[in-house]
């Protein structure tokens, strides 16, 4: 029964659609939709934006937020070559060991090392931030509903609290954060970093760049996924059409 099939599909789509707002965190915020090169079936990462976003991460975010699932070698995705990655890694020190005497020691980071976290452990992270834990950013673009728009809106969402809204010490008012009170102080004001490629360093520009970078960090295989996806959907569409006509041909002799 064809109507049954279509009704089921429509109902399931409606169910998924209706259920997702419930799953989104907090209904009291409105997100600004950014324009992302990685959106859509032919989405790709803008390497320039990724490199600039990485710069913003290093100079603004990395003071408090780690990237525990990203190694320096992964930066090849951003368009850096091996020598550049080695040079970037060498700017960091990581703990290694124990050596032959049983001592831990510090050495310059190598490509295979994870980008060092600003804190030794969660307790130190909390102690340095008024008890609030700055979340790891490796997966943040997937760990929030509408991740990229959320990050972008959050970075641009700082404003003066409306009349009557009490903002406790150590908290900040943000129109994109559920509950509006966030422990993170405003990180981006504009001109926080100096770009070498002349791209705008407005708050919007910086926020968009770092959002691009964080989306890459959360979903580094996005480009290859969509590329294979286009081929797979193309192939399977032809397979579907051919199966359908083959079926009609086989069944034709029944009537």
């Amino acid at each position: 029964m064809r109507t049954f099939l279509m009704a089921s599909a429509a109902a399931l789509a409606a169910l998924v659609g209706l259920a997702s707002p419930a799953m989104a965190a907090g209904g009291d915020v409105k997100l600004q939709a950014g324009e992302w090169s990685f959106a859509g079936p032919f989405g790709y990462f803008d390497k320039g934006a990724l490199q600039r976003g990485f710069q913003v991460y290093r100079e603004v975010c990395a003071g408090c937020h780690g990237l525990d699932y990203i190694a320096f070698r992964n930066l090849a995705d951003l368009g850096y070559n091996e020598a550049e990655i080695k040079a970037i890694a060498a700017e960091y020190e990581v703990m290694d060991g124990p050596d032959d005497e049983g001592e831990m020691f510090m050495r310059p980071a190598r490509s295979a090392d994870i980008i060092p976290n600003p804190y030794r452990n969660d307790n130190e992270a909390r102690a340095s931030n008024n008890g609030a834990m700055p979340p790891d950013l490796s997966l943040i673009a997937k760990a929030r509903a509408n991740g990229p728009d959320y990050i972008y809106s959050l970075l641009l969402g700082y404003e003066d609290a409306p009349e009557g809204q009490d903002v406790p010490d150590g908290m900040h008012y943000n129109n994109a954060y559920s509950g509006h009170l966030i422990a993170m102080p405003q990180p981006i004001y504009g001109d926080d970093v100096e770009y070498t490629d002349g791209s705008p360093t407005t708050p919007e520009g910086l926020s968009a760049d770092v959002t691009n970078f964080l989306m890459w960090a959360a979903e580094p295989k996005l480009e290859v996924r969509k590329r294979i996806g286009v081929a797979a959907v193309f192939f399977l569409s032809i397979f579907l059409v051919m199966s359908y006509f083959a079926k009609r041909r086989v069944w034709a002799d029944l009537h």
Binding site: M1, R2, F4, L5, A7, S8, A11, L12, A14, L15, V16, L18, A19, S20, A22, M23, A25, G26, P41, Y69, N74, P135, S138, L139, K142, A143, R144, A145, G147, S178, A218, P220, K221, R225, K226, I228, G229, V230, A232, V233, L236, S237, F239, L240, S243, Y244, A246, K247, V250, W251, L254, H255
Partner: protein, 408 residues
Amino acid sequence: MSAEKFANPVVRWIDHRLPIFSMLDHEKYDYPVPKNLNYMWNFGVLAGLALVIMIVTGIVLAMNYTAHVDHAFGSVERIMRDVNHGWLIRYIHMNAASFFFIVVYIHIFRGLYYGSYKAPRELLWMLGVVIFLLMMATAFMGYVLPWGQMSFWGATVITNLFSAIPFVGESIVVFLWGGFSVDNPTLNRFFSLHYLMPFLIAGVVVLHIIALHRFGSNNPIGIDAKGPQDTISFHPYYTIKDMVGIAMFLLLLAVAVFFFPNAMGHPDNYIPANPMQTPAHIVPEWYFLPFYAILRAVPDKLGGVLLMFSAIFVLFVLPWLDRSPVRSARFRPVFRIFFWLLFIDCIILGYLGGMPAEGIYVLLSRLATAWYFLHFLVILPMLSVFETTRPLPKSISEPVLATARGVA
């Protein structure tokens, strides 16, 4: 079955000693299938395909997964980032799980609509309900394995349900956990069981197919095949028809895997599990939402748990609740209306399961839950007695010929 029918001498040699080719041949050509099955009859094969996809991807994932609270989340990220095509295998496993449930839900509603649960197919139907229960348990435990926030808190909520059992509830929960909270022993046993249960499902699927082949498929008209003029061989007619369904299934699965891989998941599961921090809303996977709504519709914990399990148990006894001798809804005008009401009711329950249990949602959940049970326990038995059904055709081939003439 004689072995002479095979041209290949190797096949003939083997078949003489191990008649496996004869068996396959028998299922392919000699197994009579009603000639009027529509595309709704694709979903059994599709469910089987989904099970195979889940087992194959799951075995590969297990090679790279670490079942330990300190490493599970990281090992899944390693699969996503460093294992060759690991992201693809995991996204297929994640999304095929949802597709498995979509397919099985359609399969179940097809059975409800065409009365496929009625004599002599009661055991076939009941084995299907067993498969459904095993699927739910498997899916629940699989969702715990990545050890994200929803994994942890979902496991905490669901295992805590058993504490509602009088007297022994608390002990049962400690037994399930292997400790006094959801922790490493829980993750380990869930991994073990998650690996085991698909093979139990495969075993029950074999029984399901044996029971199916005893009387053959039901059909849209719901009357038995009267002779060879009503049936056709499975191959090539239904193999090719199933292929159309398989192509459609794979196409939709590919769209989900490659373009919306996380749409049916919850963002919170990309946050590592943290026993010290409860998420704002703990929601199960979408396919559990109707049952979750029934669970929360009852103010009493034990009552909610009993009602939730009754929602599935009622399916076991369905063949004896609906006593109408007419199988297909095509000839049951009143039943057909109630069927669609039940379908809508289940969609509403699913929606309510995703909403917070407060305000108007609680009342609506109660009404929708009441309707669900009213349908099975009151309406179906009453319809069996009072409904005037439409006259049944004499045989399957008659209306088929009629439509064929009408179209051609």
